[in-house]
């Protein structure tokens, strides 16, 4: 799975979670950019990402998670694939 594909599927997760089909994800996108991204939603976002990609993140990864770029890297690492270019 390429980063482009990860971004594509992650964008769908974000659209569903925030019910906003206009959201565009960048590596630096963080809770500061999306007003609804509360700590409550954050847990759902992590769980939904796990569900979507069929992975389980570690407690330490989740603690370090700051932005979309981190989330994409976590998916990539868990799926055991090297980075193949940013979208």
């Amino acid at each position: 799975m390429t980063d482009v594909e990860i971004y594509q599927q992650l964008t769908e997760v974000f659209h569903d979670i925030f019910d906003d089909p206009t959201l565009v994800l960048k590596p630096e996108t963080s809770a500061a950019d999306i007003p609804d991204w509360t700590s409550f939603i954050h847990v759902n976002l992590v769980a939904a990402t796990e569900q979507r990609f069929g992975v389980r993140f570690s407690t330490a990864d989740i603690e370090r998670l700051k932005n979309v770029g981190d989330l994409v890297a976590m998916v990539r690492n868990k799926r055991g694939l090297a980075s193949s270019g940013r979208s």
Binding site: D16, I17, F40, V43, N44, A47, A48
Partner: protein, 642 residues
């Protein structure tokens, strides 16, 4: 079986994105209907939360949504519960309930219950749900504590929880649901843990057992999460990463499942559980098509694995019948051929007698299901239709959305589990009426035959030799009275719902008359079938708060005999006037003219059709003539008092 983690028995929502977009774009009334329709489908936790968001925004524009019954639930927990609320709301919507929630602050359940000014008290919940987790058990025994010491500590803790239940019932007048504690205590010894009374694992097991038995005695409902955790597996329910991240005991992935567990108990409290299982025959109760293959070649019973699975499903249906679920058949078959399978197949577990209605013909199944509901005097929303044929299922869902139509797995080995997991028949009590219900519906079938052979209605009613036993609502009758009050929708003039605690308080007031009625006839006992609650507004004027009757005994003049009994009691108490109200709902149109038929005069009629008020001057009342012999129950305090 990851599929079991979502409500997998619900059908998939075809073209989900388009459906959600259409919901978003529609006007509030249409949007609400579309959300209710979407709630009947299998959705994961993200989609469920999304649908709930549409529901919440719709309620802002449409604060009094028609056709939904409100229920207020106070959530009291020792872990994070917020993520479970959207799924509980959607699962309630699935049952026609509009759930309003109050989420008590984390681990503040004692304060919320004890403080008369707490947020919970101001919220006035109908129901509170008490959720404890393995880290908040409240019993810490040492490993060398004796069995007796541990038992005493467990009893003390159970006593504290009982005190909280009483507080909720007495102060808030609400029903309590106690959740059992999923046993996530870590093993210290391995399998030997259970043999050491003081291990956390043993303590939680003992406390759960104490809670379940205490709850049954105290009219407290149980959400047995510990048992559900065992059914679907701890790994599925409880994600340790979510626990440390957000103190979520139940994983968000399982929220739709958990929400349905909460909603099915709330539904059972409100009488929304299903009452009748309608079964297809070919490839549902046996393998093969009886009309083509012949009775001898059906796959059923010993000799084949599939045959044993079909036999197990039949046995399960018969067990459901034994606990009060009415069975019916709806099959595309020649009736004689279908019946011959029951008469002649040696391994048939179900007998023709087990079915209250047996419909085998070539008409469409939606019409046949209507016929079955009519024959049984049940609403279509009481039916579950179990059919292996996806085309028939789709047709029934489209024609009769109020009938529950579970997805049926391809493999009969999973039939029983599907019915169990779907929880259509969730109960919060098991009364003697439940035990004999299936028999009562069969008796009804014989009554219908007797009516068809009678030359006129009067001679039929006379031939029934009906006896109406009138009793005061007491501790013994309370569970069944509460069950009727909370589930009767059609023959119910005010549709007021009361918890057992509220009912008991009401029945004990000296100014109130709280009567229950049992009807027996030559075909059998119909059980406790009607309730009247009235209170003295002034010494001279009694107001009928509640008047309801089970539709099983419709058209026999029972309501006339009930009114005779009420008038007699009101007179004994010196009343001169009875006042009745009719509060229209979507489902109680059949009693719109009840008070007129009972000889009441209109006292006011609201033009907006909100309610009508009726009055009966008792000195003008002439007892209604009926074919029913009234009989006073023993130990009737209203009688002893006068």
């Amino acid at each position: 079986m990851t599929l079991r983690l979502v409500p997998y028995w619900l059908p998939e929502l075809v073209d989900r994105d388009a459906t959600f977009a259409a919901i978003k774009a529609s006007r509030p009334e249409e949007r609400l209907a579309a959300i209710v329709a979407a709630s009947q489908h299998r959705l994961d936790f993200v989609q469920t939360a999304k649908l709930d968001r549409y529901l919440q925004s719709t309620l802002v524009e449409l604060p009094e949504p028609p056709g939904l019954q409100r229920i207020r639930l106070g959530w009291l927990g020792s872990s994070t519960l917020e993520h479970l609320l959207p799924a509980a709301r959607i699962a309630c919507l699935r049952r026609g309930l509009l759930l309003e929630s109050y989420l008590a602050p984390y681990d503040q359940y004692r304060q919320e219950l004890f403080d008369a000014e707490s947020g919970l008290a101001r919220f006035r919940p109908h129901v509170v749900l008490l959720c404890l987790d393995h880290e908040h058990v409240g019993v810490s025994a040492s490993l060398d504590a004796s069995a007796g010491d541990v038992a005493a500590q467990v009893q003390q803790r159970a006593g504290e929880l009982r005190a909280l239940w009483r507080m909720a019932a007495d102060r808030l007048g609400c029903t309590v649901i106690q959740q059992t504690i999923p046993n996530l205590a870590p093993q210290l010894f391995g399998s030997f843990d259970s043999a050491v009374p003081g291990t956390a694992l043993s303590v939680i097991d003992q406390l759960n057992r104490a809670l379940i038995s205490d709850a049954a005695r105290g009219h407290v409902r149980v959400l047995d999460l510990a048992s559900w955790a065992a059914r679907l597996g701890h790994d599925a329910w409880f994600d340790p990463v979510r626990w440390f991240q957000a103190k979520q005991l139940v994983s968000p992935i399982l929220a739709p499942m958990y929400g349905d567990l909460v909603a099915r108990i709330l539904g059972a409290i409100r009488g929304r559980s299903r009452k009748c299982l309608v079964l297809d025959l070919d490839n549902t109760l046996w393998g093969g098509v009886v009309g083509d293959d012949g009775v001898d070649r059906l796959v059923l019973g010993h000799g084949s694995a599939s045959g044993e699975a079909f036999a197990q499903f039949q046995r399960h249906a018969r067990l459901l019948r034994g606990r009060g679920i009415v069975l019916a058949v709806c099959s595309k078959n020649d009736r004689a051929v279908a019946e011959s399978a029951f008469a002649n197949h040696p391994e048939m577990e179900l007998k023709l007698d087990d079915f209250a209605v047996f419909v085998a013909n070539w008409d469409d199944k939606a019409s046949n299901l209507r016929r079955i509901a009519d024959t049984l005097n049940l609403g279509l929303d009481s039916l579950v239709f179990f059919d292996d044929n996806p085309v028939e299922r789709a047709l029934v869902r489209a024609e009769l959305p109020m009938v529950a139509v579970p997805e049926v797995p391809d493999d009969p080995a999973y039939f029983v589990r599907t019915l169990e997991d779907a929880g259509y028949f969730e109960a919060v009590s098991f009364t003697s009426e439940d035990r004999s219900r299936a028999q009562q519906y069969q008796d009804n079938g014989r009554r219908v035959q007797a009516m068809e052979s009678a030359t006129d209605m009067d001679s039929f009613l006379r031939s029934l030799s009906m006896v109406l036993t009138i009793g005061h609502v007491d501790a013994h009758s309370l569970p069944r009275v509460a069950q009727l009050i909370n589930k009767t929708n059609q023959f119910n003039v005010t549709t007021r719902r009361y918890s057992e605690a509220e009912l008991q308080a009401l029945a004990e007031q000296p100014a109130s008359i709280a009567l229950h009625f049992r009807l027996a006839d030559r075909f059998g006992d119909n059980g406790l079938i009607a309730v009247i609650l009235a209170r003295a507004e002034t010494p001279e004027r009694h107001v009928v708060d509640t008047l309801l009757m089970s539709c099983r005994v419709l058209g026999r003049g029972v309501e006339l005999a009930m009114m005779n009994a009420l008038v007699a009691r009101a007179r004994q108490r010196g009343a001169r006037e009875l006042v009745g109200e009719y509060l229209p709902t979507a489902r109680n149109g059949m009693v719109a003219d009840l008070y007129a038929r009972l000889g009441f005069e209109p006292a006011s009629r609201d033009e907006g059709c909100v309610a009508t008020r009726w009055s009966l001057q008792l000195d003008r009342h002439v007892p209604h003539s009926t074919f029913i012999t009234p009989h006073e129950a023993a130990h009737d305090p209203t009688r002893e008092a006068t």
